[in-house]
Assembly symmetry: C2
Homo-oligomer: 396 residues x 2
């Protein structure tokens, strides 16, 4: 008697659950320090001390009826203003609190955008490889996911295939920058190229096409890579953000969406998104943590931690003969599988207690994803095991 | 370009927003202490001191990577176990952590249940008067809301109309106990009567009918009223709970659903609900507050506060000649409008700075709802204004 729409998830879920259980089983059997789990995007960096102090201050100084009470469905006004001001300062934008809606993380933010926009049958374009959950989110509103083939040279935006996949049914396009799972950072030129095509097609089809920019890794960029602020390059843009990675708060479910004034019919779109946030059942983003992040707008991720991991793992694997995309953002390394069926490679890794995610979990077989948001020690200890794995596949 | 499904909400929303704005405008014009706002279910009782101490303890003693990190989509196991143990102790149930899924409040919990169960066109029965948001939640999954007429004698469960509204398309029934907006508490006999009908109809139709019991006011019962634990009386029950009222945490969005082993195909149903929680975009309930409520399973609402308000307002209005349903639970008083069109009565109240919600907002015109979760002073100061209002309508 479970809804028909939920049944396929149940079947797929068992595979994911089996992987998770395997990790737990291995940790129990061999000891957690002897298992090299690169499968999860759960930051190993603690939330900044400033956040802890912010929570304490709020609990000590504010009225609990205010701290834990209902506020506007879009979030506390002063919280949205603090974040808008910070964005304006950093990116030269001109957002007011009205342009921001606080959400239950980026997952909920994406759902709010899609619920606001999609009619059944509307197409949403995503670039492979991509976070498979985008598909679940699009199906929630009976939308149709249309996939752009990966550019396996650079793993940048495959604009030629993109132009072909656009159709009169395209309602939205999702990009993710910096990129999970490849670690690629799209440049200003990449975004401008995308925007040009979208503008042309909007004219041709005579309706808006929305660019939804999913940016939980915005602050995680290395080697001086700049992450362009997409609203400046394309009018019908919605930005989805989460504090999961920048403040290491993935469990807290706190983020926001931005709907700029430049978006078509922005007033109604903002109102509809605020209602979507409410009727999804979320009602509003969690209150205490909203207040806390507003006090931490200038706090950032420990970039040095991730950068050291990045270099150690990337250079270590290159030395062993692996082929990897050079990661410039997020905390993922995208490695070419030495055999076409990357699931075989993932399986072989388990022998050495190395846990990786197959590229097919991102609609891009032939590759694997390593999340290097683990401790530095895990990477150091994993490299000799990767060396054995490399030998098994005739590398080096 | 907003989704067609969202458009009716935009139109209705302006009315609700206008009401909210009016309250703010009145507070600014006349002073907050001269406005008697009985419109909102935002508890005026602070969260218990124990909660604040629990949060402090967690921040001081636990690893922030654990406190703010991802956990199982169903919630921390030890949190679910602590809650299950507490329920088992209080109600003689036999839940394990597996039967509980922590959710982003009851709103999200209801959505998780409905997403798990509903195919398009499935009917969900609700008893008028009811929280209109149920309709939004049901429409989220293309379900059809079927309304049982109110029993305007007792405002109990109108079982005769209920039996007529059940059909082969009925997938679920939502009840709310203690009841918003009437303050009624359904007894064990009421629940048993409902269960008997449901069991018969399940047999007749040859499929499960789920009873979804929405219980955010479970602990708010007065005069020794007992709130029956529904899973003990009907097998296909799902319970939805929130800490919004009992711990005064409405903004924190923390609650849970219970899916007992007795539910048909419970293992798959629990798995599907856990996935629904994830793919709705919530992923999991907020982590810090999950940990905090687990340390407060024995903390409760300040019943004395609400009881004093209840008596003062109920008795005060009776003395003025109003007709009210005697409230035995939640924190609402359901008052018969002295004129058929209760909106006229609500409008007249504004002259005396009294804000009430018309019964038509609960699909039950002719009545108004007063939320008495305000300060005692507000009630005391409002009574002379109610006296003027009563005189205007020839009462007393």
């Amino acid at each position: 008697m479970i809804a028909k729409k939920m049944k396929p998830y149940l079947e797929n879920n068992s595979a994911i659950r089996a992987m998770f259980e395997e990790g737990k089983r291995m940790a129990a059997e061999f000891g957690a320090d002897k298992v090299y789990d690169f499968s999860l995007g759960n930051p190993n960096v603690p939330a900044p001390q400033q956040l802890k102090e912010a929570i304490r201050e709020i609990l000590d100084e504010e009225d609990p009826v205010f701290v834990h009470g209902y506020m506007s469905n879009a979030g506390f006004e002063h919280v949205r203003k603090a974040i808008a001001d910070n964005l304006n300062e950093r990116f030269g934008t001109a957002f007011s609190n009205e342009n921001l809606i606080m959400t239950v993380g980026a997952g909920s933010g994406l759902n709010v955008c899609l619920k606001t926009l999609l009619d059944p049958g509307d197409e949403v374009i995503v670039f492979a490889p991509y976070f498979l959950e985008y598909g679940s989110y699009i199906r929630n509103y009976d939308g149709v996911l249309v996939q752009v083939a990966p550019d396996t040279e650079s793993f940048g935006l495959n604009v030629s295939d993109f132009a072909e996949k656009l159709s009169v049914r395209t309602k939205a396009v999702i990009i993710n920058n910096p990129h999970n799972p490849t670690g690629v950072v799209y440049s200003k030129e990449d975004i401008c190229g995308l925007a040009r095509i979208l503008e042309e097609k909007q004219k041709e089809y005579g309706h808006a096409i929305y660019l939804i920019s999913d940016e939980p890794y915005r602050e995680l960029a290395f080697d001086g890579a700049e992450v362009p602020f997409v609203t400046k390059f394309y009018e019908n843009t919605m930005v989805v953000y989460s504090y999961s990675k920048s403040l290491s708060l993935p469990g807290e479910r706190i983020g926001y969406i931005i709907i700029p004034d430049e978006v078509e019919d922005s007033e109604n779109t903002i109102a509809a998104a605020t209602i979507a946030n409410r009727i999804s059942g979320c009602v509003n983003a969690p209150s205490l943590i909203q207040l806390a992040v507003a006090k931490c707008v200038n706090a950032g991720a420990d970039l040095g931690f991730y950068d050291r991991n990045r270099k150690c793992l990337y250079e270590g694997l290159l030395r062993l003969g692996f082929t990897c995309v050079k990661p410039r953002g997020a905390f993922y390394l995208w490695v070419k599988s030495p055999v076409a069926d990357e699931k075989q490679f993932v399986e072989a890794g388990k022998k050495y207690h190395i846990l990786m995610v197959p590229g097919s979990s991102f609609a891009c077989p032939g590759y694997v994803r390593l999340a290097y948001c683990v401790s530095y020690g895990t990477i150091q200890n994993a490299l000799p095991e990767f060396a054995k794995l490399a030998r098994d596949f005739g590398l080096g």
